[in-house]
């Protein structure tokens, strides 16, 4: 379970010699239950990435609490933080695969840094590669794969430490519709069969509709509505949600 309580994030920056404060997240609270596929949707610059990065503390909240499985982890650092992150996989829009490592070496990376023995981590990686349908590609390098294949490697990599939570930041935004569907189906399977809780960021309502059981809509750093995906889409309350729905009406029809 992931609980965010009154999270704010403020970036300081200096412009023309003047000190500015940029309030990117403003009192954000929500709870993601175990087994959820929780969507965070919003327009570009709304603060989605910043928010999801707060969950594994890649970004340190300015105030508020991050509670993972009942433990307040907000002030974790060093070994505790490393341990926490091993329990939370992450997948990125641009895949972020290590270009100089083979597919197999990419998938074993999280276990390698965890100090797992070579045989054990390779066995685990092969199992995951077979799950994502890329068993025959383990010796290739990321530059030799298509975007969809790269994202499947990235998903296998994120699962290598058997995390209970997976964060996906625009995991399908760089992919075409067909490939997006393949990736979404894979993520659904991971959620159902492995019981991994998924937090899925997207600016696409169609994608959110396909994979998320619950969603939160974020606008200018604030959660403007949240609830069951079906309810939110059927009875949108916030103006942004309606705007997003209008823009994407066709995609959902």
């Amino acid at each position: 379970m992931i609980q965010l309580e009154h999270i704010t994030k403020t970036f300081d920056h200096v412009e023309h010699g003047e000190h500015h404060e940029h309030h990117v997240l403003k009192d954000v609270s929500f709870t993601v239950e175990d087994g959820d596929t929780f969507g965070i949707i919003g327009e570009s610059g709304a603060g989605k990435s910043t928010l999801v990065r707060c969950i594994n503390l890649l970004e340190k909240p300015t105030s508020g609490k991050v509670i993972i499985n009942g433990t307040d982890v907000t002030n974790y650092s060093g070994k505790q933080l490393v341990q926490l992150r091993r329990g939370i996989g992450m997948v990125f829009q641009n895949f972020n695969l290590f270009a100089q490592r083979s597919v197999l070496q990419n998938v074993t990376y999280p276990l390698e840094v965890a100090g797992e023995a070579k045989d054990a981590r390779e066995a685990r990686a092969r199992k995951l590669l077979s799950m994502v349908g890329l068993s025959d590609k383990e010796k290739l390098y990321p530059s030799q794969l298509s975007g969809g294949q790269q994202q499947r490697v990235a998903i296998a990599r994120a699962l290598s430490t058997a995390p209970s939570i997976m964060l996906c930041d625009e995991a399908t935004s760089a992919l075409d519709t067909m490939t997006t569907n393949t990736i979404l189906n894979l993520l659904k399977r991971i959620n159902k069969e492995l019981g991994v809780t998924i937090v899925f960021i997207t600016h696409s309502l169609a994608v959110a509709n396909s994979i998320c059981n619950r969603i939160a809509v974020i606008d200018d750093g604030k959660i403007v509505e949240q609830g069951k995906t079906h309810d939110v889409f059927a009875h949108p309350q916030a103006k942004v949600t309606r705007e997003l729905l209008d823009m994407e009406g066709k995609a959902l029809a």
Binding site: V82, Q83, R85, Q100, Y141
Partner: protein, 225 residues
């Protein structure tokens, strides 16, 4: 032909020894410059404002040190360092005497080259590595250094060639090697043939090092295939 025969009989050993001295001098200096320059370059990147452990003051001071080192012309450093060189290796002459100023001047250069190579690594990879629970040290050597290896090798060839050129300058203050030969025979005794021979050897060595560097970097780079 006969002329060449006679030339090699007279100067062959001298040139061979000079070439060997230059190669040794350059190799040892490059290696030592990297021993100092890699940690410096890594520290600059890690303590950068958007690095893994931002530290403004440390980063600024380190930047100054590197810049000061880079801004002193080698020929001046060479002379200015003579007392220091004597203190370290006991002499300011010959190959050992040349290595000290070469390393001192090349280390900051290497630090910048390493910094540049590491900065080329996509920030997304660093973020991914962090999200998988890597320590700073693991990110440095498993991501920064590994991902930038082709670039580091290309930089290594450039460094090697730069030190190569500097080593010839070290010849002017009795540093040994091809530069020394060129000065003593070519400049002081007007033996243009010897000078010409040293130039040919230098050109060949530079070509070899550059193409080995380029090919090696291309071979290990997994991005372009």
């Amino acid at each position: 032909m006969e002329y060449l025969q006679a030339f090699f009989n007279q100067y062959g050993t001298l040139l061979a020894q000079g070439t060997w001295a230059t190669i040794v001098m350059t190799f040892v200096s490059t290696a030592l410059a990297y021993v100092i320059g890699i940690p410096l370059g890594v520290l600059v990147v890690v303590t950068n404002p958007d690095g893994l452990h931002p530290h403004r003051i440390f980063n600024t001071v380190l930047g100054w040190i590197v810049n000061i080192g880079r801004s002193i012309p080698f020929i001046i450093l060479l002379v200015a360092l003579i007392p220091f060189t004597r203190w370290i290796v006991g002499t300011s002459l010959g190959v050992p005497g040349a290595i000290v100023p070469l390393v001192v001047s090349a280390a900051p250069f290497v630090a910048r080259m390493v910094e540049q190579s590491l900065q080329e690594v996509n920030g997304g990879l660093i973020e991914a590595a962090q999200s998988f629970g890597s320590s700073t040290w693991q990110i440095v050597y498993k991501v920064y250094l590994k991902e930038s290896l082709p670039s580091l090798i290309r930089g290594g060839a450039i460094t090697f060639i730069t030190i190569f050129g500097y080593s010839a300058m070290a010849g002017t203050v009795g540093g040994g090697g091809l530069g020394d030969i060129a000065i003593r025979y070519g400049y002081q005794r007007y033996q243009n043939d010897v000078m010409f021979a040293t130039i040919i050897i230098l050109i060949i060595l530079v070509q070899i090092v550059q193409s080995v560097g380029t090919h090696w970097a291309r071979r290990i780079d997994k991005r372009n295939r």
